[in-house]
Amino acid sequence: MPAPSIVRRVSHQPPRAVYRHRPLTRLWHWVNAVTIFVMIGSGLMILNAHPQLYWGEYGANFDHAWIRFDRFPGWITIPSTYNLALARRWHLFFALVLAFGLLIFLIGSLLNRHLLRDLAIRRGELSRRHLWADFRAHLAFRFHDPEAPRDYNSFQKLSYIAILFVALPLVILTGLTLSPGMNAASPWLLDLFGGRASARSIHFLAAAAITLFTVVHMVLVILAGPVNEVRSMITGWWRVPEDEQP
């Protein structure tokens, strides 16, 4: 088993700047940054029209809701004042961008080997020792392996895999399940999620997970050096921080 990789060593000199993000990754990232923001804001406005969630095939005012919200405030909803129709216009337009964007990104990333090269979990990366070392490195605000600064760390890989292959597909499929037209065309979606009211609840939970990911992602970008991180997502080139160079 390989030793925990995040250790300080004074061996070879890593390059000062590494090419980290391919054009497809960068393009999708920024399209998605806008899309996720619009989807969260407009989704919360849509939820404001009936801020209660249920389990099962149906759910309305006289049925048992597992959660009831107050209205979400205007600073986080799109539009900021109550307008269900316009929120749906935003949501259903960007839903297409989200779904087809993910499809194109996943196919492209399979072809350009991004998924296998950067996201595949390698032997030993999920060992308790490795995860613990990664965790301690995070607490010390060290996010890169000085020996291989281009590589994603284990938590990065796990969260990207969870977002790409669980949360985003789930939010898209549960969203489709809310469409009465799609229910007629693909009733298996209803069976898969246990009914429309359940699909609506899962849609919310998946969106909440994506929101959490986005917030943590932005905090980590800021902690890791926002200028360098954002620049690398624009140009592709990421500078290896001085303190992580041996």
């Binding site: 923001f37 619009v38 804001g41 849509i46 939820l47 029209a49 009936h50 209660q52 095939e57 149906y58 759910g59 309305a60 005012n61 006289f62 049925d63 205007g74 600073w75 986080i76 909803t77 799109i78 539009p79 900021s80 004042t81 307008n83 269900l84 129709a85 316009l86 749906r88 216009r89 935003w90 259903l92 337009f93 960007f94 839903a95 297409l96 809310l178 469409s179 009465p180 037209g181 799609m182 229910n183 007629a184 065309a185 693909s186 009733p187 209803l190 429309r196 009211a197 609506r200 917030v215 932005m218 905090v219 800021i222």
Partner: protein, 253 residues
């Protein structure tokens, strides 16, 4: 500067940033160009659904024990015109359904005639645009049967449902195209959950168009008009909510 302060600033900055972006979206949402683009989403969704799915696919039907214990009503609970009050007082004995416009044989049917026609009974889910759903049982003749009786002319493209209720002083109306008009589950329901249709749910007649959201299911229907285009009707967008609030005309999503 301490790290805590920085972090606090970061979070505050993100909150202010989100609020700034939201207000930016508000301004974009007012721009005619952006609205035109956003509203294309409806066309794209309709095009995809109609293109990729079977046109006569049936909406899911449920077992009697899967029905909502209470089927709530929405929108108008009781039309407030004297004419409707008179009809309701007499048990809708004199209510007539007119079918006209681009038809070969305009019809004026009594409720007795409609109730004596072969009825389709279906237990389906009603999905409100707001997000709630309720399951109920509906009975009534298929709309296609009424249209066959009247004889649609070739130019007819849409059916407009004129209703007895008003919203914001304007008469409620809705419209569907021929794909949904001739769909086997599209019925004019006069019964709900084995009883005559209650007033809050649209007595004496309501449209059921099961693959679309609730606001398309016109209640208190008194006239069905076959038209070639929706342009000349009221606000021209095919329905009262579409005219008043820019709801999607295609509400299959």
């Amino acid at each position: 500067m301490s790290r805590i302060l920085t972090r606090r600033r970061v979070l505050a900055g993100m909150t202010v940033g989100a609020a700034g972006l939201v207000s930016g979206c508000d301004q974009l949402g007012e721009s005619p160009t952006v609205r035109r683009l956003l509203f294309k989403g409806e066309d794209a969704q309709r095009w995809l659904q109609r293109g990729l799915t079977a046109r006569n696919a049936l909406a899911p039907e449920y077992r009697p024990d899967q029905r909502s214990p209470i089927f709530r009503s929405n929108g108008t609970a009781r039309p407030d015109t004297p004419a409707y009050a008179t009809h309701a007082a007499s048990g809708f004995a004199d209510w007539r359904l007119t079918i006209d416009g681009l038809v070969a044989r305009p019809l004026s049917l009594s409720l007795a005639q409609i109730r004596s026609m072969p009825a389709r009974t279906q237990i389906t889910r009603h999905d409100c645009v707001e997000g709630w759903s309720a399951i109920g049982k509906w009975s009534g003749p298929r709309l296609s049967r009424l249209l066959d009786l009247a004889g649609l002319r070739d130019q007819a493209r849409y059916l407009v449902f004129h209703c007895a209720d008003r919203l914001g002083g304007r008469p409620y109306y809705e419209s569907i195209d021929l794909v949904d008009a001739f769909h086997p589950q599209t019925i004019l329901a006069w019964a709900m959950n084995d009883a005559l249709l209650p007033v809050p749910n649209g007595a004496p007649l309501r449209l059921r168009v099961e693959r679309q959201l609730g606001y398309k299911h016109a209640k208190y229907v008194e006239r069905i008009e076959a038209v070639a285009s929706l342009d000349g009707i009221a606000g021209g967008k095919g329905g009262l909510w579409e005219d008043m609030a820019d709801y999607d005309w295609y509400a299959g999503i």
